[in-house]
Subunit: 372 residues, 2 copies
Amino acid sequence: MTISSPFKVLHSQGKARRGELKTFHGNIQTPVFMAVGTKATVKAMTPDELKDLGTQILLGNTYHLHLRPTEDLIQTMGGLHKFMNWDRPILTDSGGFQVFSLSGLRKITEEGVHFKSHLDGAPHFLSPETSMQIQIKLGSDIIMAFDECLSYPATPKQVEENSELTYRWLLRSKAAMTRPESLLFGIAQGGLDKKSRIKSIEQITQVDLPGYALGGLSVGEPIHLMHELLYQVTEAMPFNKPRYLMGVGTPLDLVLAVDAGMDMFDCVMPTRVARNGTLFTWQGKVSIKREQYKLDDGPIDRACGCYTCRNYSKSYLRHLFLSGEILGARLNTIHNLYFYMDLMAQIRKAIEDDRWPQFKQECVLRFSARSN
Amino acid sequence: MTISSPFKVLHSQGKARRGELKTFHGNIQTPVFMAVGTKATVKAMTPDELKDLGTQILLGNTYHLHLRPTEDLIQTMGGLHKFMNWDRPILTDSGGFQVFSLSGLRKITEEGVHFKSHLDGAPHFLSPETSMQIQIKLGSDIIMAFDECLSYPATPKQVEENSELTYRWLLRSKAAMTRPESLLFGIAQGGLDKKSRIKSIEQITQVDLPGYALGGLSVGEPIHLMHELLYQVTEAMPFNKPRYLMGVGTPLDLVLAVDAGMDMFDCVMPTRVARNGTLFTWQGKVSIKREQYKLDDGPIDRACGCYTCRNYSKSYLRHLFLSGEILGARLNTIHNLYFYMDLMAQIRKAIEDDRWPQFKQECVLRFSARSN
């Protein structure tokens, strides 16, 4: 029995794919970058501004929303879309990754994970069933299976046990996923070794689901190891299902992952580094606090069409940053998200136009260069 | 020799006046509330958002801009309007008030004020001449004379000396004000005593200027003392010149001051308390963090037409506030500034329509009530 796929590959060149994913809140053009709206808001941005930038889908964090304001509150308020005033698709993660990266004392059992809230130390429990319940209450369009995120480095035995547990948890996630409007994606683990990663992929993709993700990457390993792995394993993932690379990444990561055949991405990087004064351009990164921009009346990037670059000088942005002004965080975030959304639009267009290899090559040259 | 007045009273009812002030960057309809853009930004807001709210004029703080990024930098960048992307009028204060309220060790002489920066302790000097030079470099449309702000309480002798010094500094301010595009406003001091305040007003208004302000009010005195004083002294100010009440105030303050015949106001209150979670409504103040709003799916004020009230619930705003999210500061600021701008528009309309006494009475009843 096969679930009719909400995804189709519209065009491909090499391994790179140009696709479309249908969800309850609208269709998503892939490859796509999902802006991260951790606590029911993409930091510093309104939903209208995100739409103006071409944001197609947001990611919400189950761990954070579970702790505060809680999924019950959000459900009572009409679901996450209504609560945060966002009517386009939302994907929620399973909470697993944040439990491992943020929470205090935790204990992993076959049943699930006991942990303490990073907010107040209160005890909590997440399992495949509770994670599904939370994401169902949030009303996500794409629900992620509950997995155990493996940290780097890991022994072969740890990798093996992690993959097996993640598989058993996927079966329980699927059994608990009762909301027909949502799409459940499975997550393959398997560390950085090609064989064990492919083994996990093959195991996970035995479960018929509308999409699959790679987890446990970009978690501290040398980044070239992830790049190499992607080229070796994506073809083990079904061609006709969306492939989501979780928590990745830099502009270079995105381009190489698309080149390896991945379709979906999310990362806090563009928004987080914006608030810290780092801005992406096609000529490299700009650290806005630098003395050299003190009297620079030019925009971050003369070729950029974002609101920030159309209206503000580097001198002004530097002043806002040094003064700790909220407007600085806003203008920097607008610029970086514009850069990411524009990059993804150019990626989609290059694949459509059969210019992918040339476009990829130009991106690699530009993004591998040293930052300003 | 009289400077041709850029101000005219279009209509009046009782002491309340509906006027228009011409400046280099456009005409201002009075009574007007000036949003405070301390460090070349109204905290959390873009200029476009401020325009959408009907903001006619911003106030910039000479003290802050002098310390960082400095008036020389702003002049090099084309002036404050261009630097911060605001093409409507700007008024700058003289720096005097902030020197007294923010800076460390200071010494007042006939020549001016020596003080230390609150940022790094560096020594600085402000005088009528340096204050004018700074404001001229900023390119302000309305430049405030350099005065000594008296703190409350003060002895009759202190009040007397303060008024005399402020007068001598006004003469020096006028002599140093060499920019024809800017309007110089004088500031009367004189404390809370009717006689000494009127004496200062009479002294200051001997100097022919396009506008006059009352300083040293709302600096810690019981607020009814300011209200009483205003009714006793505004008529000592020229009828055909704009009257600016500096650093004031609450919605009730604004209504009573307009009733007493004042035209211009500024205050950090709507923006500052917004970031602290206090929201103005016609039914009183709302403290958004309160438990009672946890599951409240209604807007701050059902009758309000602002972006925040049209799109977000109190439950969501409470969540953003408790999570320390920038979007919370933004949405709260939008609401409070909308409230202030809408209040001023209603004040202007009520005077135009000869409904001022009734409108004032309704405002007094509403704004005097306890907050929620």
